[in-house]
């Protein structure tokens, strides 16, 4: 046994008490602050569910076509979506998609500016990097419990947990992308008397867009990976079906819903990746060769 050097009980009590204090005194404020997030999620979900299934299929298939200009990917997308419909998972899939899209959009809004800030200052990077490591490795239940305590079970804690888990790769890849823009191009741009924002928006971001898009791809994948955990605290969707399947020992229900998640992941992964490849080809990257 490791000898007790100091009594840690007061620390634990202090942490627990302060969380309780926050819940009691600031719970409403927190909920109000998170309200726009809930609005966003609900809006996306409502739109997805209200849109007829064939229109959603048509939209995703045409996006797949635009991303690749070949027939393979649109066919894969079509088959995947048909699978969701045939297996009676359509509505759940839309709920899950809404959560994934809302989390990704929010992550983009926070992560890209954070990545930009990191790319400009070594000190900021030193502080943020371990924080990102923490966000990715800390078991999600650890922060799920306090968020549920503050916001109550429901969609908000589910969304927040998903964002916390899914945002780090986007921050990292934004930072990496901006820093790896060819220094010769950056110097030339400076020599023309550009302002820092002209360089950021006119040179750095366009040239690192493929890398940033790879970050978006990672974020969507990680958001989908969180759906089962998110459904435990009331997010619904495919994750909830999996959970029910486990609870009732209905292997088929769990299996089909699980496959549904896989199918969604394939659709979004292939589409974002193809857009990334297209961009990469457009930028050429031949400049450095």
């Amino acid at each position: 046994m490791f000898p007790e050097i100091i009594d840690t009980r007061p620390w634990r009590r202090a942490i627990d008490d302060s969380l309780n204090w926050v819940v009691r005194n600031w719970g409403d404020e927190f909920e109000a602050a998170a309200y726009p997030l809930l609005m966003l999620l609900n809006f996306i979900e409502d739109v997805l569910i209200a849109t007829p299934w064939w229109l959603i299929m048509a939209i995703l298939v045409s996006i797949a076509w635009l991303a690749t200009r070949r027939w393979q990917l649109p066919v894969i997308v079509l088959v995947s979506l048909l699978f969701l419909g045939i297996m009676e998972l359509w509505e759940d899939a839309m709920t899950t998609m809404a959560l994934m899209i809302a989390a990704t959009l929010t992550a983009i809004i926070f992560s890209i500016p954070l990545g930009v800030w990191m790319s400009r200052s070594g000190k900021v990077r030193q502080v943020i990097t371990p924080l990102l490591d923490l966000m990715q490795t800390m078991p999600s239940f650890v922060y799920l419990i306090p968020t549920v305590m503050i916001f109550g079970p429901g969609k908000i804690p589910a969304l927040i947990a998903t964002i916390v888990y899914a945002a780090p790769p986007l921050v990292r890849l934004t930072d990496l992308g901006l820093r790896s823009v060819d220094p010769a191009v950056m110097e030339a741009s400076r020599a023309f008397g550009t302002t820092p924002s002209q360089r950021l928006f006119g040179v750095q971001i366009p040239l690192s867009l493929p890398t940033i898009l790879a970050g978006v791809n990672q974020t969507t994948m990680m958001a989908l990976a969180m759906v089962v955990i998110a459904s435990m605290i009331g997010a619904g969707g495919l994750g909830y079906q999996v959970l029910q399947g486990i609870g009732r020992l209905e292997v088929s229900r769990g299996l089909f819903a699980g496959l549904g998640i896989v199918v969604l992941a394939i659709v979004f992964d292939r589409i974002t990746q193809s857009f990334g490849k297209q961009l990469q080809a457009k930028i050429g990257l031949a400049e450095t060769r």
Partner: protein, 389 residues
């Protein structure tokens, strides 16, 4: 009064420009000012002296070529003109304006309007078409689109690439890319154009062709060109004035003819073209003439040096002859150890007794020469240049 008149003809004036790379350049600067050498400063403080007390004047409308080996500070030097690199000490005046006193906003305006740059690695924007690359400087400056178009087309025509306007950068060859980079710099009509080894990434034949074009374009636009290169043929072909840099300092400065025929130092003599250095000692010194005793004999050459000083004589290969001639003195007989045919001439190395380094010499095109052959060597002391540095 006179000095002021001269100043108005100056495009760039640099005085005592010093650049030290490191965390605490000021303290390293004090050591340097206290008389320590660059090597000592680097050993003591881990600071690298990039430029050491560089002063130069560049007249308006000139092609001013900065030459040196890699690491000699030539690229560092021209980046001071548009302050891509900030000096540790010194004064930089461009077109009468003190560049170092500019605020950030003034510096941006200056970079947008007065000084443009072409880079060795081009630095073109790969996500933009050719025409949008050339328009970049004008766009940054806020020139409206309708006004940009004709100027961009004119610049593209000047470099002979009007037909590529809508292409992507990665569809162009290296030579075309460099022309686009040149057009992009010229379109803003700068008063000074900085060229950092612009032809360095091109193959030799293209380089020779482009240097002619560069010179022709400069004649047309009349912009002051500050051109960095390590290629001495290129430098001689285009320069009005050459500055030879070595380890952050100026070794020599003058017209190409002057630097080739009357180099100021051993480094400059060896750097500009092929050269023979004959080390010796001054044994007699009188008004404007010195007698230098060398392993190859005593020579009376023009110049000033104290008696007893160790000096070198620079002798170009084309000034060594196997035949006797007017004013030529014999250097002795040597054995050919290497010979090569260069089209216009044969170049060979000849080992002479008493001189460790073989002498290089040029023989006429039709004169066949074999290694092992013995050649008498003659030279006119008037062709020898006295070097004290």
């Amino acid at each position: 009064m006179n000095e002021k008149k001269q100043d108005t003809d100056l495009a760039i004036r640099m005085r005592g420009v010093t650049k030290i790379f490191g965390d605490d350049p000021k303290s390293a600067l004090e050591l340097l000012r206290a008389g320590k050498t660059k090597t000592e400063v680097q050993a003591e403080t881990n600071h690298v002296v990039g430029l050491d007390n560089v002063s130069l004047d560049i007249a308006r409308g000139q092609i001013f070529v900065v030459m040196g080996l890699s690491g000699s500070g030539k690229s560092t030097l021209i980046r001071h003109v548009n302050r891509l690199i900030e000096p540790t000490a010194g004064e930089i005046i461009v077109e009468g304006t003190d560049v170092l006193k500019m605020s950030l906003e003034e510096l941006r305006t200056y970079r947008r309007n007065s000084v443009a740059m072409v880079f060795q690695k081009f630095g073109l924007l790969p996500h933009r078409s050719v025409i949008d690359n050339v328009a970049y400087g004008l766009e940054v400056r806020g020139v409206p689109k309708a006004e940009r178009r004709p100027r961009v087309e004119k610049a593209l025509d000047m470099v002979g690439l009007g037909h590529t306007a809508l292409r992507r950068i990665d569809e162009l060859s290296g030579g075309q890319r460099q022309r686009i980079a040149l057009a992009r710099a010229l379109v803003v009509e700068p008063s000074v154009l900085l060229l950092d080894e612009p032809l360095g990434a091109l193959d030799l034949k293209l380089r020779r062709q482009m240097q002619e074009e560069l010179k022709a374009i400069q004649k047309r636009v009349g912009t002051t060109f500050v051109h960095v290169t390590h290629d001495q043929e290129e430098a001689m072909a285009i320069a009005d004035v050459i500055v030879v840099m070595n380890e952050g300092s100026i070794e020599d400065q003058g017209t190409p003819e002057r630097i080739y025929l009357q180099p100021a130092s051993r480094f400059a003599a060896n750097f500009m073209g092929d050269n023979n250095l004959i080390e010796g000692r001054v044994t007699q010194s009188e008004a404007g003439k010195v007698r230098v005793t060398t392993p190859l004999g005593d020579f009376l050459v023009a110049g000033e040096a104290e008696s007893g000083a160790s000096v070198a004589l620079s002798l170009r290969p084309e000034h060594l002859h196997p035949e006797t001639g007017d004013g030529r003195v014999a250097l002795g007989e040597g054995k050919v150890i290497e010979a090569g045919f260069f089209g216009t001439h044969h170049q060979c190395s000849v080992a002479l007794e008493g001189h460790d380094v073989p002498l290089k010499l040029r023989l006429p095109q039709k004169r066949l020469v074999q290694p092992g052959e013995t050649l008498p060597l003659h030279a006119d002391p008037a062709d020898m240049v006295l070097l004290t540095r």
